[in-house]
């Protein structure tokens, strides 16, 4: 746990943890509202957004890519709603139509345009490049207090920290509104809570988290972090605040354990090369969910638990 750890593992691990938490927080409300797959749809449409942003600006820069991805996410939400209403189609199918079409368009534009010279491809979009977010200038724990070394931190770290702080702040500020409108929409409306705005805001925050995380860690982590930690947390407790805390703990655990297993696991098994950290983090979150399904104290529906104990 010395200089090498700080240089090669600390920053990607931190970014992974921040991304996992930023996605897990809105995920808690999405799964309770049965909108879990919005995260899936958003992470698919991020690709066309980024490709179009690149074609317009011609550079692989952070800001235009974020704007493009956010724009695509917004467009997708609007299109899903439009297809659902105009065609009278159930939301799941409407979602399936929209995000696959946009993804196909993204792949097509990517293949047609000359993007081979830059680091922009589908696989990168899916798997991210968590391992490459290393802190070259660091030479030990002391670097944490060295302004010169701190200045060379990968730019993804502060960005992800910002996105994570934003989701935490919004969750805390709108806690009551979110809670009431998630569990009892009619009651929330009667209390004068702007239910539609809360729902749209939640999807927007999810999109922001997905877009910020996507750039650093790829869409696999985004999809699994939206769902697995909150789903596992839901099986641990009946209280929403406890569920959110559990989900943060599970997200952190998945990111840290996944990253460590990806980096060091193969070495323990005698292999030479590390495996994909993003994939491993998703896998670990799945294992946690599976364990929660089997051993979670509140895994079953209320009636069933009582019926089976008789």
């Amino acid at each position: 746990m010395g200089a090498e750890f700080v240089q090669f593992s600390l920053t990607p691990m931190l970014i992974g943890v921040l991304a996992a938490i930023a996605c897990a927080l809105p995920g808690n409300f999405l799964i309770l509202r049965r909108q879990a797959l919005i995260g899936d749809a958003i992470s698919h449409v991020v690709l066309p957004g980024i490709v179009v942003a690149f074609l317009i600006t011609g550079v692989v820069a952070t800001l235009p890519m974020l704007v493009g991805a956010a724009g695509a996410a917004l467009l997708a939400v609007v299109l899903i709603e439009g297809v659902r209403r105009l065609g009278g189609i159930e939301p799941g199918a409407a979602m399936g139509v929209v995000f696959t079409t946009m993804f196909a368009a993204g792949v097509l534009i990517l293949e047609q345009s000359d993007t081979s010279s830059v680091h922009l491809d589908v696989e990168h979009a899916l798997m991210g490049n968590l391992e490459s977010l290393v802190w070259f200038r660091a030479d030990g724990w002391g670097s944490l207090f060295d302004p010169v070394a701190l200045a060379s931190l990968p730019e993804e770290l502060p960005r992800m920290a910002l996105a994570c702080a934003l989701t935490i702040a919004l969750t805390l500020i709108f806690w009551r509104w979110l809670k009431i409108s998630t569990f009892d929409e009619a009651f929330a409306r009667a209390m004068g809570i702007p239910v539609r705005a809360v729902g749209f805001g939640l999807v927007t925050v999810a999109a922001i988290a997905a877009v910020a995380a996507f750039d650093a860690v790829g869409s696999i982590i985004v999809i699994s972090m939206f769902i697995c930690p909150p789903a596992a947390a839901r099986l641990m407790t009946n209280s929403l605040s406890h569920q959110v805390l559990w989900s943060v703990a599970f997200a952190t655990l998945s990111a840290v354990a996944g990253f460590a297993l990806a980096g060091y696991g193969p070495l323990w098994l005698g292999a030479v090369n590390a495996v994909s950290a993003a994939g491993m983090i998703a896998t670990v979150s799945g294992v946690i969910l599976a364990l929660a399904c089997v051993f979670g104290p509140h895994a079953r529906r209320l009636g069933e638990a009582a019926a089976n104990s008789n």
Partner: protein
């Protein structure tokens, strides 16, 4: 020209093979997907598709370990079917055993299986160094260098699913529409659900080679959603969806063969999406334009009637749309004064209104008088004899 050549299978052996394979795939995916769509579980296919990745990778590892050629398509597809099946069972298990809803189960399986697949892909990259496994092509499909043998696998899979659909159409439709009713008829809903999922899995696995695992979802969902615009009957829906999928596959493959650098998978999906958009806009009964025209007509009828009632009551009409409507029919003059025709029409509307009042007094049953909405002409609901009876009670008509 190149497109025409490709459409008539004249662009070479490989292109013809791909076009036929894509059409077969489109047909089986479209018809299999329509049951999922009717069952309102369209996105299960997304999880199934993503869950094929670890299977492909595992099959490759196993085949190489056993000393064979890791790229044998049949072996890879077999492996993908195994993990896709596991993914399906996991969704079933989570949504049955725990209190998580099905969409959470879908999302969890999708992310986790895909993530594990990516881990295995990185293992393969390091394992057979120097030998490009090319498994990444299963992500987005790749039709370059498709072998005759691959086409046979695809054709066989396609034929198999069409056969299964043909045999099990009735129970599968029943379960899709009303699972409880099907259960009460003695069908085993769970097994039929599994059969539907098996079909979806077959289409997914077969589609890996051509459109890839991320876009195969589109081939399962878009054709059936499109077909829904053209029919209200489930029996036709299945085959229309199949035909639409087949057309998208064939056209897409032909397009991609005729223009350089057009990847086949995305083009097929975009053709399917174009068919969807056309149907959404122009379908005769459920399309957006048809609905807009219906709405316009309804609006015109309401305005016309209100205008005529106003004429009868000798109120001035100030609303521009109503005036234009009546003027176009020659019922009012440009200054809003009714013409002779207009007065006759107005008298008729008032008369009908009075007839309806009588009719509702006589016929208390909702069946006939319930059709009163102020717009349906009374002649469409009652016979001339009945109307004559209403008139007898009303007395002579009044002129306007």
């Amino acid at each position: 020209m190149a497109l025409l050549e490709a459409l008539f299978l004249q662009s070479g052996y490989n292109a013809a093979l791909v076009a036929i394979g894509a059409a077969l795939l489109g047909f089986s995916a479209g018809s299999a997907g329509s049951f999922l769509f009717l069952r309102k579980r369209a996105l299960v296919s997304d999880a199934v598709a993503h869950a094929t990745l670890p299977g492909v990778a595992l099959a490759f590892i196993v085949m190489v370990t056993l000393g064979g050629d890791g790229r044998n398509l049949f072996g890879l597809l077999l492996g993908s079917a195994v993990t896709a099946g596991l993914g399906l069972l996991a969704i079933e298990w989570i949504s049955r055993r725990t209190r998580l809803s099905e969409d959470a189960a879908i999302g969890a399986v999708l992310g986790v299986f895909f993530g594990f697949g990516v881990v295995l892909l990185t293992v393969i990259q390091t394992m057979s160094s120097g030998r490009q496994a090319g498994l990444e092509s299963f992500l987005l499909g790749s039709t370059a260098g498709m072998l005759f043998q691959d086409a046979l696998v695809i054709a066989g899979g396609g034929l198999f699913s069409v056969l299964v659909i043909w045999l099990l159409k009735r129970p599968m439709t029943l379960v899709s529409f009303h699972a409880d009713y099907a259960a009460s008829l003695g069908y085993n809903v769970r097994q039929i659900d599994l059969a539907i999922m098996g079909l979806v899995m077959a289409a997914t696995v077969v589609g890996l080679k051509i459109v890839g695992l991320i876009l195969i979802v589109a081939m399962l969902i878009i054709p059936s959603v499109t077909a829904r615009f053209w029919t209200n009957r489930s029996g036709r829906l299945v085959w229309i969806a199949g035909a639409l999928g087949g057309v998208a596959g064939y056209l897409g493959a032909a397009l991609s063969a005729s223009v350089p650098d057009l990847p086949t998978g995305p083009i097929i999906v975009l053709v399917a999406a174009a068919l969807f958009t056309l149907s959404l806009l122009f379908a005769p009964a459920r399309g957006v334009f048809a609905a807009a025209i219906r709405h316009r007509r309804f609006q015109a009828r309401v305005h016309r009637r209100q205008g005529l009632l106003a004429l009868a009551a000798q109120h001035p009409i100030r609303e521009g749309y109503t005036l234009r409507l009546l003027a176009r029919e020659g019922l009012v003059r440009a200054d809003g004064v009714p013409t002779l025709d207009g007065r006759a029409e107005a008298a008729k509307v008032v008369r009908d209104e009075e007839r309806w009042t009588i009719a509702r007094r006589i016929h208390q049953d909702i069946g006939l008088s319930g059709q009163y909405d102020g717009l349906t002409p009374i002649e469409e609901v009652f016979t001339p004899d009945e109307i004559a009876e209403f008139d007898r009670r009303l007395g002579a008509p009044e002129a306007v």
